[in-house]
């Protein structure tokens, strides 16, 4: 047998014995010195074989012995130099993996004591002196030979969870270096160092395994610390891979070796952190092609399932796919899948608008990356999915969704039809549409740019426009230049600030009719457009001034106005007509309202006319319910905050604002008493009419006509109807009919509560709010207990599960209102 193993083991055991039993400082330091020889690095080293033997078999045991003997009086046997020289050096110079394990094990097992503090300070030194890189290097090195999987597993756990362990142990006394926000960046720099050593050894022709480093990276990312670690790692790697192909290979390998279960976290982190698609491509290489899991994450999860990432991330991701010919087939595949989602009517109906926006952005970016031949070969497919998608987007009741559909369809059509006209929609530009449109261009610009971060891409596109503007119209500047003394005049008018001049319109010189009967004549028969226009403009004020005459012809006038078409373009025609109708309705309420409500459910009206009827009823109700000031002609301001002019966009907001104000006014009354300014008083004219407005409207909604099917395709009108009923209900507060109205409105809500259209659901939720605010709470709880409770549980359901954010908010608000009602009722009897 080989004598050495026995000998080394013997020496170590002896030393441990001396350490544990002896009280003699000299003896102890001698024993430590003997063992120190096995570590090497000193002048009198032990033979190589013995050293290997020691580090492989005895080192951990020896360290444990050292730690277990540690106590204040024992350590005092050594001088402080000796402590550093002999005790500390075992930890700082010995094999890092074993040292680390022993240190952490002892920290975990020890209670608070002197010994613990000593070990922790050693660990701190260990970290500060680059122990982690030594450790990882050690493992990588061993792995090249074949390491022990369980040992590595433990080590990995300990490395990643170090902040947790120390935090648990030390609680409030934790050292800053162990804080996650400090530890993981440190770990990242150590990783870079290990990679550096690996690259050096690769250059020397030595083999090296990187997988432990990958595992560390993966596990850290998985533990939710990817922000901290990648913050340091990505910029460094970006610099290192810029010129060096070995570094690129190392980096690709680093990501490839991350185990599958952690690859998602790593890839997401890289995609988010990389400042541009080219950098991402450098860092990840063709990972998506090689690794199925990564491919799934990139092509499915990040694009179709999640939608919280910024646009820059999308640009990175899709730019990355576009940059290499090996990955381009994925870009096309992704585009097809995105279009499928975009064009699926169920997705349009059921997924949140934010996600739809995200998908639309992704499609636009994809399109901008596609090249002509690729588009040509897929042109037919693109066209079909565009047509389908456009249809279901335009069907939506939400203007935002419609606009998304328009923009995407426009962009697809402009790409597939190279010559000839392409699709063009009319919509108003806002920030969102501008951002979307800019995506089509910026991505194109981005490709040739090699190393600029995103922010840089905007400036080259912005500067040419800025430059071309002044040079584009030199005309106004030219006459000013030759003028003598013009330099004095250049800044002369600056102190005179212009007023708003938007009112400067062309003046129409046309005799305006003075009598209402003349107006009817003009509106029905006249071919003179100027006269017609002038009539439209004065009609409202005429009606309001001559209420007696209006009453004589109210029905006729209402009929004419309802059927009136815009023969020639008049600015604000819709508004003018609506206001005139409102005026008629107010002057002669009962017959006109009866007429309008009956026409709402009759044949041969366009959806637009039906919605106008709803608008007019809502506005009239608002005006009637408001206390009128002493003068008979009301100021126009009461009408300008239109309740419901554009579907979806403002109405719910406006409506909610009214409710909010209402709630606010209530709470204020409780808090401050009568400190409010006395509002104008007057009888509520709406109170006797509420029924006329409300019941005919709610009666027939479930009876489909040939041309009008509220429960079928015409859900936009249904949504408007729900909103209008909510408004009527709201204005019916303090009226006799309120309780009956509330009851039938609750039934209406109950019947439609699972409607698929979110606009309809919003209307229903608004209706519930109105009921809660307008119906006296005793009636609500005594006469409609069942309905009340059922609604409550439905609301709870909506508040939790509805895909539409507005619906959820409204439901919460309703629940809150209910809660308050119940609270108030409970407090009354006591």
């Amino acid at each position: 047998m080989d004598p050495e193993p026995f000998e080394v083991g013997h020496v170590v055991r002896e030393a441990i014995n001396i350490l544990s039993s002896s009280r003699n400082g000299v003896q102890i330091s001698e024993a430590l010195g003997t063992i120190k020889c096995y570590l090497g690095g000193t002048e009198n080293q032990a033979p190589l074989k013995e050293r290997e033997e020691f580090t492989r078999v005895h080192f951990s045991a020896f360290l444990r012995g050292l730690v277990s003997n540690l106590s204040p009086d024992w350590i005092e046997l050594l001088t402080s130099d000796q402590q550093k020289e002999l005790w500390d050096s075992f930890f700082l110079e010995g094999p890092a993996d074993q040292v680390f394990l022993v240190l952490l094990d002892s920290i975990i097992s020890m209670g608070p004591s002197f010994c613990l503090m000593k070990v922790i300070s050693i660990l701190e030194q260990f970290l500060q002196t680059g122990g982690m890189s030594a450790l990882m290097w050690e493992v990588c090195h061993q792995q090249a030979q074949a390491g022990l999987p369980t040992f590595q597993e433990t080590l990995l756990n300990k490395v990643v969870c170090l902040p947790d362990h120390l935090c648990n142990k030390l609680q409030g006394n934790n050292l800053p270096i162990f804080f996650p926000q400090n530890y993981f960046p440190l770990l990242a720099t150590e990783i870079i160092q290990v990679l550096q050593r690996i690259s050096d050894s690769l250059r020397d022709g030595l083999d090296c395994s990187i997988s432990f480093v990958s595992q560390v990276l993966g596990k850290v990312c998985m533990h939710g610390r990817r922000e901290e670690i990648l913050k340091v790692l990505v910029p460094r790697l970006m610099d290192l891979t810029k010129v060096d192909c070995i570094w690129q290979r190392i980096c690709w390998r680093l990501v490839e070796c991350v185990p599958d279960r952690w690859i998602e976290a790593v890839v997401c982190g890289f995609v988010q952190k990389a400042p541009g698609a080219d950098v991402l491509s450098r860092l990840l290489g063709n990972l998506v092609v090689k690794n199925k899991k990564a491919q799934f994450v990139v092509t499915q999860k990040l694009l179709l399932q999640q939608y919280s990432y910024a646009t820059a991330v999308l640009q990175n991701l899709l730019g990355y796919l576009a940059l290499d010919s090996l990955r381009r087939y994925l870009l096309i595949k992704v585009l097809k899948e995105l279009l499928e989602t975009w064009g699926s009517s169920s997705a349009v109906k059921h997924s949140p608008v934010e996600q739809q926006l995200y998908v639309s952005k992704a499609i636009l970016i994809c399109l901008s990356h596609l090249k002509e031949p690729e588009i040509e070969s897929n042109g037919q497919e693109l066209l079909t999915s565009m047509m389908g998608g456009m249809k279901c987007h335009l069907d939506s009741n939400l203007p935002r969704v419609r606009r998304l559909g328009m923009i995407v369809a426009e962009s697809i059509s402009s790409r597939i039809t190279t010559d000839g006209p392409c699709l063009k929609f009319q919509y108003e530009d806002d920030d969102e549409t501008r951002e979307l449109k800019s995506l089509q261009q910026t991505a194109l610009l981005q490709l040739p740019v090699t190393d600029l971060p995103n922010a840089g891409n905007d400036s080259p596109s912005a500067t040419p426009t800025a430059v071309s503007k002044p040079s584009g119209n030199p005309h106004p500047a030219a006459p000013a230049v030759p003028e003598e003394g013009s330099d004095l005049e250049l800044d002369s008018d600056d102190d005179l600030i212009p007023y708003d001049m938007s009112e400067d319109k062309e003046l129409k010189k046309m005799k305006v009719p003075v009598y209402i009967r003349d107006c009817i004549e003009v509106l029905t028969g006249s071919e003179d457009m100027d006269k017609w226009e002038a009539t439209m403009k004065v009609l409202e004020s005429l009606i309001r001034r001559n209420s007696a005459t209006t009453r004589e012809v109210s029905m006729e006038l209402a009929k004419v106005l309802l059927h009136l078409e815009e023969k020639t373009y008049i600015e604000g025609f819709v508004e003018l007509r609506k206001r005139a109708l409102v005026a008629v309705t107010i002057t002669d309420a009962v017959p006109v309202v009866q007429y309008l409500t009956s026409q709402f459910y009759s044949l041969n009206y366009s959806l637009c006319q039906r919605m106008d009827i709803l608008d007019v009823l809502a506005l009239a109700a608002q005006e009637l319910s408001q206390p009128q000031a002493s003068g008979k002609n009301k100021p126009r301001s009461t009408q300008s905050p239109c309740i419901q002019t554009v579907p979806g966009s403002d109405s719910s907001q406006n409506w909610r604002r009214i409710v909010d104000e209402r709630i606010k006014s209530k709470t204020r009354r409780l808090a401050k008493g009568q400190s409010l300014v006395e509002p104008a008083c007057g009888p509520n004219k709406f109170s006797s009419l509420a029924g006329h407005f409300f019941f005919p409207l709610i009666q027939n909604f479930d009876r489909p006509l040939v041309t009008f099917d509220l429960l079928g395709d015409d859900h936009l009108v249904l949504g408007r109807l729900a909103h209008t009923l909510a408004i009527l209900m709201y204005f019916a507060i303090h009226t006799v009919a309120a309780a009956a109205m509330g009851k039938s409105l609750l039934e209406f809500v109950w019947a439609l509560r699972f409607h698929t259209d979110s606009y309809v659901r919003q209307g229903l939720l608004s209706a519930v709010s109105s009921i809660l605010l307008s119906v006296p709470s005793e009636r609500l709880l005594e006469d409609m207990t069942d309905e009340f409770l059922e609604t409550q549980s439905w609301l709870a359901d909506v508040a939790e599960k509805d895909p539409d954010g507005d619906c959820r908010r409204l439901a919460w608000q309703n629940l809150l209102l209910m809660e308050n009602l119940l609270k108030k009722l409970r407090s009354v009897p006591s």
Binding site: P479, A480, E483, E489, S492, D493, D495, L496, I497, P498, Y499, D500, M501, E503, D504, K505, E506, L507
Partner: protein, 342 residues
């Protein structure tokens, strides 16, 4: 968002006829109050007290025929008024009198406003349309002697004079006359020789009104078309167009440059008063109050810039008074304002 244009500071009602001309007299010291003279289509001249905002006196001297020019001469006690009864009357308003002391028969049936220029203490020149249709006559006041008769050559055919502006480059130097004619041209006359110095065809339609800034040698004219033209006079006494501004609606009845040469006001047939920066003709405001054609605009000659008002008289029988762009730094104003055209 720019501020909405201001409302009138106050409105004078009660002329019960279209207001054709306005003239401020605000130069007097306390206890004299600022006055506004207005001439209307029923032949009456109203003297408004701007302190009480009421009518002080009503002068009736044109036999019910429309008054289209009034101007104070020699302080507030003397007033010249021109009416379509072909008379230019000189009123004595001192010490509560209101009598016509003198009058000139114009022999002209047009509605061209006369123009007055003070050439020396107690001496004025007055340009008025002459007997022949295309003739302008210049009289010396108070002697009423004819200084010259300005008649274009036979082949020029500019039509009737529509508006006149007498001016002189420096006090005491030879005066010039700028006249706008029916054919849309503006002619610069030299009074001493009775010769045309320059003729500029700057409008397609009759020139309705013009005003001239003798410091910058730059003038503005408005016509019945929808263009406002700014022209300048160069060293060789040639008029040339400097800038035109297209209006939304056609028809400028009157233009007036404020005495401090900062802003320009126009009276529009579209019921609106427009304010421009004078230097670059930058549109500044649209004052929308009147419900009918605005016939005339006039700036007050308040000595303090902050009190300076703008008045506009309209077909709707009202005179609107505005306070606009007079809150700027005062020092500059005063220096510019020392000399004003009479």
């Amino acid at each position: 968002m720019a501020l909405p244009p201001p409302d009138p500071q106050f409105v004078l009602r009660g002329t019960s006829a279209e207001v054709h001309t306005l003239h401020f007299y605000c130069g007097g010291q306390e206890p004299d109050y600022p006055i506004l003279f207005s001439g209307s289509s029923n032949g009456l001249i109203h003297v408004w007290n701007l302190k009480t905002r009421r009518v002080d006196t009503i002068l009736d001297g044109h036999g019910g025929k429309s008054v289209y020019w009034v101007e104070a001469i020699n302080g507030r006690d003397r007033l010249l008024s021109q009416g379509s009864n072909q008379q230019i009357c000189l009123w004595d308003l001192a010490e509560g009198r209101n009598t016509v002391t003198d009058s000139v028969f114009t022999e002209n049936v047009g509605f061209c406003k006369s123009s007055l220029l003070k050439v020396a203490q107690g001496h004025w020149l007055m340009a008025m349309p002459g007997k022949d249709l295309d003739e302008v006559q210049v009289l010396e006041l108070p002697s009423k002697t004819s200084v010259c008769t300005l008649k274009p050559e036979a082949d020029a055919k500019p039509g009737m004079p529509m508006c006149l502006k007498l001016w002189q480059p420096d006090f005491g130097s030879c005066p010039f006359l700028l006249a706008g004619y029916e054919d849309g041209s503006v002619i610069l006359w030299n009074l001493s020789g009775g010769k045309i110095l320059s003729r500029l065809g700057c409008h397609q339609e009759p020139v309705m009104s013009l005003d001239f800034d003798s410091e910058k040698k730059k003038g503005v004219s408005g016509s019945s078309e929808e263009v406002l033209t700014v022209w300048s006079l160069d060293e060789q006494q040639n008029l040339k167009v400097q800038k035109t501004h297209k209006l939304v609606n056609a028809g400028i009845a009157d233009v007036a440059i404020r005495q401090d040469k900062k802003i320009l006001a126009t009276a529009g047939w579209d019921h609106r008063i427009r304010i421009f920066g004078w230097k670059k003709l930058k549109p500044l405001a649209i004052l929308n109050y009147h419900t009918a054609t605005v016939h005339c605009v006039s700036f007050s000659d308040h000595s303090r810039p902050s009190e300076r008002l703008l008045a506009a008289g309209s077909k709707d029988h009202r005179i609107s008074i505005w306070s606009i762009y007079n809150q700027t730094s005062g020092a500059l104003h005063c220096s510019l304002e020392t000399r004003k055209p009479d």
